[in-house]
């Protein structure tokens, strides 16, 4: 069935709310407004104000409240409008949600789901264009996932809610209007593995969230020139599925990691380091990456485009690895 990413996320949420009375949605403008990205439109009427909770602009408090509610037996889905605002709640996610189980000697788990939009590409300028997934992926005690496909947008919420520990879900804001096919028959997805979205023999493109589609576009362009790129969608940013990444790199012997985060200290850097550690002797070229330029994301369209990973940059990086420049 063809649907938008937004609709897929929405179906996943609706499914969760309808099937588990412990589940509730909490966040800024999730109710009356219908969700900043219209994901939860109509939910307030359908599920009522107890379970569709508009919050004040208090990211720290409502994320922390989600943690407490999870400890108290609920299955909260906390929507932080965007990763940009999640910095205000970072203390609760890092200092409380991530640590409680270990620091309490295993007594308290926090079955919390935090969703947030991420990414640039809509001319929203520097403060609304962050990709800070790596900040979260750095922290033990939380799982970080990033659905990029319709199937994952639809299917990753359920296992996230079933997880006894905190899960942070990043939804790339550019993807909400993206249309694609939902697999039929519908099958559950996991939140443990990466996935090869396109097989190829010459180079592995490792990407996640918004960059998955840029990597696929680059692969299409490369195919026209006889280069077969394999595209691996990380899907899960923590813990990384090393096995799938390495299996692909061992086949292709070359890798380009595509990451909308800034290069320095990026998730791309982590993936590259793991490839060095685990697949060094399978490499036929240095591992490369295409990340955002190290500048605040500018407003003007041409500058924003220049700051972000784009298919031509990916194509160029691949060609360089293949000695074709």
């Amino acid at each position: 069935m063809k649907m938008t990413y937004r609709e897929a996320v929405r179906q996943g949420l609706r499914d969760a709310l309808a099937t588990d009375p412990r589940v509730f949605l909490m966040g800024e403008d999730v109710g009356k407004y219908g969700g900043t990205y219209a994901v939860s439109k109509g939910f307030l009427e359908e599920f009522g104000p107890e379970r569709i909770r508009d919050t004040p602009l208090s990211e720290l408090a409502f994320v922390g409240t989600g943690i407490g509610a999870a400890l108290g037996g609920m299955r909260p889905i906390v929507e932080v409008m965007t990763v940009n605002f999640s910095l205000l709640a970072l203390d609760q996610i890092v200092n409380t949600a991530a640590l409680y189980r270990h620091m309490s000697g295993g007594q308290f788990s926090v079955p919390l789901v935090v969703r947030m939009a991420t990414g640039a590409g809509r001319q929203l300028a520097a403060q609304h264009s962050h990709s800070l997934e790596n900040w979260y992926a750095h922290v033990p005690g939380i799982k970080v996932i990033a659905p990029a496909t319709i199937d994952d947008a639809r299917g990753m919420l359920k296992p996230a809610l079933a997880d006894p520990d905190p899960v942070v879900i990043f939804e790339h804001a550019l993807l909400y209007n993206f249309e694609g096919e939902l697999s039929e028959p519908w099958r559950d997805v996991d939140i443990a593995s990466a996935k090869v979205l396109r097989p190829g023999r010459d180079v592995t493109l490792v990407a996640y969230a918004g960059t998955v589609w840029k990597a696929l576009e680059a692969a299409r362009q490369l195919a026209a020139e006889g280069v077969e790129a394999e595209v691996v969608d990380l899907r899960v940013l923590r813990p990384l599925d090393d096995a799938t990444i390495m299996a692909s790199v061992r086949r292709t012997r070359r890798a380009v990691v595509v990451d909308e985060g800034w290069r320095t200290g990026s998730l791309a850097a982590e993936v590259m380091a793991r490839i060095m550690e685990q697949a060094f002797y399978d490499l036929d070229a240095p591992v490369a990456r295409v990340c955002s330029e190290e500048v605040p994301i500018p407003y003007a369209k041409h500058l924003e485009d220049a700051a972000l990973p784009q298919p031509p940059k990916i194509v160029a990086a691949v060609k360089q690895l293949l000695g074709k420049t």
Binding site: F280, Y281, D282, L283, D284, A285, L321, G323
Partner: protein, 398 residues
């Protein structure tokens, strides 16, 4: 402290692969002891040492391919302490540093061979991907000879696999040897102004004498005609020493003894010319034994380094192949080559009568820089004369 350097084991050798150490630190060695086995393009050679001392340290590991002249071991001189050796090393290192530019003079250029590998340094490292290196180890491919097609010319796994496929034929010593001979002979023809002389030598007396001599001996002790020929060459050279030795750095250097390099063709193709030392001082039986031994070991590829490098002149005998006359190419840096054709029954005038006699054509190829035709002619005359007096050939120690 003594620096033991990888010796040149022949003119065409400018590098060798250390195969095995026969000594270890602490071993006492004396002149002539075999200390290592080195693979040249020709064969595995036992390398002897010409100094006396105690092995202090071995500088290189087996499998390493090293340029000729590389210090491969340090030895303590008799009575020398390790402390003194360390001091010497420091001093030499300092001197080497001070004298760094210009680079140490390289050995005479030998064109046509693989260039000597540069000393290991970051700049000189072969640029190869990790996967390529791993595959090269697995397939035993030398990355130094693989051409890279990857980024910045790096060798990729595919490059290694192609190189391995190309080298799938068994390691081709014959090809290597062909290259080495080609290089040496090309150098010879390029550098050495040859002149050629020949003369017919009647061997009736010599062969009668030898037949009689052999009849008194068991089959295994019999001496081939090749042996008196060698002895005669040696005795003649004694009178014409400018044909026995080397032309180096623009000047003739006489040989320290008369060591005849005997050209031996190998079954797998190619030839080598190991030396029998001091032929002039050996008796015929001893020479026969030496020759048999040499041919056997040459074909088994177990020659000693001195045998490979000691020859002061080369003798090639193509009589068995049925040719009458040899126009030999000198083996540099030697200055002469004596060739023998086959012994044939020919009409020969002796004391005014035509008789049928066994006759041999001996030829001389000589380096005009070291000798002139006049002296060369006298040498051939002397050779012919020596063979008319065969009893006198059988002098020496055995």
């Amino acid at each position: 402290m003594i620096e033991f350097k990888l010796p040149s084991l022949g003119a065409e050798m400018d590098e060798g692969t250390l195969l095995e150490w026969k000594v270890k630190p602490g071993d006492r060695v004396k002149k002539g002891d075999v200390v290592a086995v080195v693979d040249t393009s020709k064969s595995a050679i036992d390398v002897e040492i010409w100094e006396e001392g105690t092995i202090y340290e071995l500088m290189h590991e087996p499998k390493e391919t090293l340029p000729v002249g590389t210090v491969i071991a340090h030895l303590l001189e008799p009575g020398e302490t390790p402390e003194h050796a360390e001091e010497e090393k420091r001093r030499m290192a300092a001197e080497a540093k001070a004298a760094a530019p210009p680079a140490a003079p390289s050995p005479a250029p030998v064109p046509g061979l693989v260039p000597a590998p540069a000393p290991p340094s970051a700049e000189a490292r072969v640029r190869a991907s990790p996967a390529a290196r791993q595959r090269a180890r697995d397939l035993n491919v030398d990355l130094a000879v693989v051409t890279g097609t990857g980024p910045h010319g790096a060798i990729t796994i595919e490059d290694v696999e192609k190189a391995a496929a190309a080298a799938a034929q068994p390691p081709d010593r014959a090809t290597e040897m062909r290259r080495a001979i080609a290089a040496a002979m090309a150098r010879s023809k390029r550098e050495i102004p040859h002149y050629y002389l020949a003369t017919d030598i009647p061997l009736a007396r010599a062969s009668q004498w030898l037949t009689a001599r052999n009849e008194q001996r068991s089959v295994t002790e019999r001496v081939l005609m090749a042996v008196p020929l060698l002895k005669a060459v040696a005795l003649a050279l004694k009178r014409y020493p400018e044909l026995n030795g080397f032309f180096r750095d623009g000047a003739f250097v006489p040989g320290a003894g008369i060591h005849l390099g005997v050209a031996i063709s190998l079954r797998q193709g190619g030839l080598i010319a190991p030396a029998i030392r001091d032929v002039d001082r050996k008796g015929l039986d001893e020479l026969m034994r030496a020759l048999s031994d040499l041919v056997g070991r040459a074909r088994a590829l177990t020659l000693r380094s001195s045998e490979m490098s000691d020859a002061t002149v080369t003798v090639t005998n193509l009589g068995d192949q049925g040719v009458d006359l040899v126009h030999g190419v000198i083996y540099p840096p030697q200055v002469a080559l004596i060739g023998f054709g086959k012994i044939t029954q020919r009409p020969w005038v002796e004391d005014g009568k035509v008789v049928v006699a066994p006759v041999l054509t001996a030829s001389l190829s000589a380096d005009h820089r070291a000798s002139d035709g006049h002296r060369g002619a006298l040498f051939l005359v002397e050779l012919a004369r020596a063979l008319q007096d065969p009893e006198k050939l059988d002098t020496g120690t055995g």
